[in-house]
Assembly symmetry: D5
Amino acid sequence: MLKNIPSIISPELLKVLMEMGHGDELVIGDGNFPAASMNDRVIRLDGHGVPEIFEAILKLFPLDIYSDNAFLMEKVPGDKVETPIWKEYETLGKQGDPNFKGFHFIERYAFYERAKKAYAIVATGETALYANILIKKGVVV
Amino acid sequence: MLKNIPSIISPELLKVLMEMGHGDELVIGDGNFPAASMNDRVIRLDGHGVPEIFEAILKLFPLDIYSDNAFLMEKVPGDKVETPIWKEYETLGKQGDPNFKGFHFIERYAFYERAKKAYAIVATGETALYANILIKKGVVV
Amino acid sequence: MLKNIPSIISPELLKVLMEMGHGDELVIGDGNFPAASMNDRVIRLDGHGVPEIFEAILKLFPLDIYSDNAFLMEKVPGDKVETPIWKEYETLGKQGDPNFKGFHFIERYAFYERAKKAYAIVATGETALYANILIKKGVVV
Amino acid sequence: MLKNIPSIISPELLKVLMEMGHGDELVIGDGNFPAASMNDRVIRLDGHGVPEIFEAILKLFPLDIYSDNAFLMEKVPGDKVETPIWKEYETLGKQGDPNFKGFHFIERYAFYERAKKAYAIVATGETALYANILIKKGVVV
Amino acid sequence: MLKNIPSIISPELLKVLMEMGHGDELVIGDGNFPAASMNDRVIRLDGHGVPEIFEAILKLFPLDIYSDNAFLMEKVPGDKVETPIWKEYETLGKQGDPNFKGFHFIERYAFYERAKKAYAIVATGETALYANILIKKGVVV
Amino acid sequence: MLKNIPSIISPELLKVLMEMGHGDELVIGDGNFPAASMNDRVIRLDGHGVPEIFEAILKLFPLDIYSDNAFLMEKVPGDKVETPIWKEYETLGKQGDPNFKGFHFIERYAFYERAKKAYAIVATGETALYANILIKKGVVV
Amino acid sequence: MLKNIPSIISPELLKVLMEMGHGDELVIGDGNFPAASMNDRVIRLDGHGVPEIFEAILKLFPLDIYSDNAFLMEKVPGDKVETPIWKEYETLGKQGDPNFKGFHFIERYAFYERAKKAYAIVATGETALYANILIKKGVVV
Amino acid sequence: MLKNIPSIISPELLKVLMEMGHGDELVIGDGNFPAASMNDRVIRLDGHGVPEIFEAILKLFPLDIYSDNAFLMEKVPGDKVETPIWKEYETLGKQGDPNFKGFHFIERYAFYERAKKAYAIVATGETALYANILIKKGVVV
Amino acid sequence: MLKNIPSIISPELLKVLMEMGHGDELVIGDGNFPAASMNDRVIRLDGHGVPEIFEAILKLFPLDIYSDNAFLMEKVPGDKVETPIWKEYETLGKQGDPNFKGFHFIERYAFYERAKKAYAIVATGETALYANILIKKGVVV
Amino acid sequence: MLKNIPSIISPELLKVLMEMGHGDELVIGDGNFPAASMNDRVIRLDGHGVPEIFEAILKLFPLDIYSDNAFLMEKVPGDKVETPIWKEYETLGKQGDPNFKGFHFIERYAFYERAKKAYAIVATGETALYANILIKKGVVV
């Protein structure tokens, strides 16, 4: 633990966030996201929900202003599950970074392809469905 | 995640708990415990308190009946800090395993020596002080 | 060994099952399946048959409801060998997971291609022929 | 799998048995034996009992004639558990190797010290208690 | 060394032969075969000829009955070198495995391509020319 | 780079500072300190002086209140070199952490022994002599 | 540290510069450059600006005379940020190497592609924008 | 050092030369050759010229008689540099191996492509320009 | 394979022999020697006898003239086995190196201790008993 | 290669020299020095004599002024070999570093013990006997 660093952030995640540069992408996957088969750099935060991790990361990590910077996985056509967590993400995004302009949606398999090219994936224990977030790092000035 | 496994247990911790045998010891360290300098096998569960981890582990891990099986770090002489978390541990121990007979106390530096020989250390984000637990694995029948 | 975990599951297999996410696939290969040349992540359970492993895995691992979730390798055209073990698999599938809807068949070389992309392969000592199973992990809720 | 090799022997165990030389020792630990904390070279054969492994190993591995060559862990003083498996081991030893002259007993902690110096430990799922065996390799002529 | 295992087989080769499954291929290369540039899994048996290795391997390793199972490298057009060793291989094949039906020939560069995809290459000290063998593993029943 | 983290701190150093626990020690060595021969965990910050690193670290890292927490290497008897940098360190310590109570001095070879047991050493390009600092981490509350 | 080597050059960077040959390229990235996702060989020099590193490198590293040898990343169309640091780079290039003939510009994503093929990337803490340099090594005579 | 082995050959180079088989290629690069970016297997012989290494290698390494076996890098069109070292190489080739039939020339970038596929590259300190050699190993009889 | 190097010497053994210096010791163990438990550097030459390896090594490796340079393992008191191979070793030693002055004998467990400190152990398939040799490398001039 | 660095210094040696700090020791061993059995950090410069390496190193590496800084291995009592190279070393030492005050002598086995604790050993092809040097690094100012 360190002064001024949210204790939910692990040493390895902190290192990874710092290594990332402008335009690199990070996935925060829910508990069912196939993180280990998508990317070699997986940071596990078992037992935590995505909202508290998203909130903590935005304290350290600026979103990109040169392009869309926050994404959610679209529901599979026909799936009627409710996704109230998206609302919560929206609120956290707005509070956490003035560069946040709302989420864009990516189709399930396209999201997987993008996760494969992301810099890292944070694997959580989030039990809500369709609760994966992908964010793009901006410039630290 | 798996059916019937508490989601706070990470894949690596689950593997470690299963590899342990009769008499092997496990430390659940609080957020200030010097885990990485004590042992090469450290499983990080940042952002979690010790009680929920202790509770989850007892669902899988039997305590030893051949010897004392649960230990706390003694307060440094003169330290007046209150340790209400010990009470909570006592309750969780009793609920979690019929072999639990209460905690024994180990002086700070003796606790460190024992942690060096433990099979593994779980590093948590527990903010309570003197909140480290050492448990000894029993026989699975 | 742990409480409530079938003892046929090794620590490494348990870890692998837990790391897998929604949509990841697992092969349980018979004793002649070329596991090591198909995949870098091979968990060996020598000397065991596939049925007891399949049964144990279904206690922990939910099948996917978004798509077909269980597959067998088709017999090579002209091969007259009997495959009574398929019946046994059918029974175990039904008993083990309400999401199980029966097996689909995949041609031998197509099965190999799919095994190469699976998350892992469990190598067994099953002596029955055409006794390989491929399953797709579902959502843990 | 190979012709003429018992299928319970894994490729890694076969390699280890072959690498061992005259006087090297091997532990076959029961399911509660703390194998991973005793030795860096652990071969897991989860879900199997010790007798079938002991029997298979003796088909390949000669016992030493220059010294005592087979050992069991002594019961802890006061422990009244029955150990019928010892009888079974005795029979297997006699059938498996003409050099077998019966088991010698080693006190629990002395057994651990010896296991630390053994060439390797086979970790099984044997549920019988006090079911660990230590054998010393002889000369192949 | 082990009872009943030909002593020319190294521990590593034994492990590799056992890991191979139905349809996997093995090259036994002569002393001039570019083994190390063809495959990451090379087992060296320097100083031995191919015939004694081929003979020893057939004691453990069944040839495939589902397809052609034994191959030699064709002579480069115009090369007049005699290859009496092929006769010897023919005899050993017939004696060693009832599934052996004679060798098929593969052009030099096609042989190299196949060696790159083989499970492993055994590098020998065989001094005869065109003395490389490729065999395909069958089913162990 | 991250928001609110001094940019002189590298990702690896940040990870190391966070992994450290109560009582772990860190050396900030000057440009002539034999860091690589003293410790396996060396973080290089070539080209920087010790003061700016010391200042940055104190923003994240609390000093221990249970014991002396800051140390300098004593001058070798007879060495007349001036060490004005100690004054600067004193100022930075006071400004950076209320737990700082001044430096204690350790003889050169005793300092080396302590550096060998430290959790990590930061290697700098500081050109001042006798400019090494050793600090002990306190409790984060 | 060594005699006659600028102290801002780390041991690892010095080794990398020396390993490079004629035509190999090196990127000196600013603090926001996504170095870790572009290349496996990253040398971090956190907390330093690009100019002092560029100047130090040119003391050891000759620019190529067989082709263009120095490049900057073009501003994204529409971006109005000023880039006064380019002027400073120009001056340092001229002073540092007679082979320097001025910078050529590469579009942002083309620059990334080239960085992926570079021999190494130096990651700095430079806060100026569009401050990345790519240089090509010449012949040492 | 060993009896009868030229002392300029390092243990690692000797091993590499011996591992190579018929048709494998070796590059001896001059001091400016970009060896490390071309191949993962680089043996450094800093401070030596190419001629003495070429001469030493030919004592151990036969050239191929099935194809062209020795190559030089062509001068870049328009480059007027003299290359007297080629004469010396010609002499050494003739003295060193009866299979040597003179050098063939390869254009610079084609030479690089071939170096990437070579078995290994020897990196020297040769200061002559265009002084790289590529040789193809023949059959040892 | 290489010109002038006995083909029984593997690339790895050749490298090891060359790395050794004055006073370093090498063990050539028989097929029952516990090589893998004695030393981390083991070179396997399965299927070969010790005499042909000893003879080949002496062509490259000078014996030490500063001290005793060749040793055999003494028979265990009471063991009546004949050791005709010692005669053969004597002959090979005399033919192979003018510095050879006959063998000295070392008690079994003292031999093991020395083997643990040797630079490397060659593991053979020699079936003669008491057939281990230890030699000390001399100066190459 | 780099500007202003002697080309006999390899990239790895350069890195090692730079990592060393005040008081660290370096051995330059002759061709018969048992470097690989003395130290894990060995830099090979096969085929070179010690004098040219010693001369090159002194251009970068200051000798220590706080203690004796240069040592030779004493002749074994009774050895009458001449050691003219010591004279040459003396001259190079004086020319290379004003802190050089002549060599001190260390008995053979004491020299070995010191080499084991040195930071690194440079292994050369020097054929002169008793030609090993040990130097202690000083302060770079």
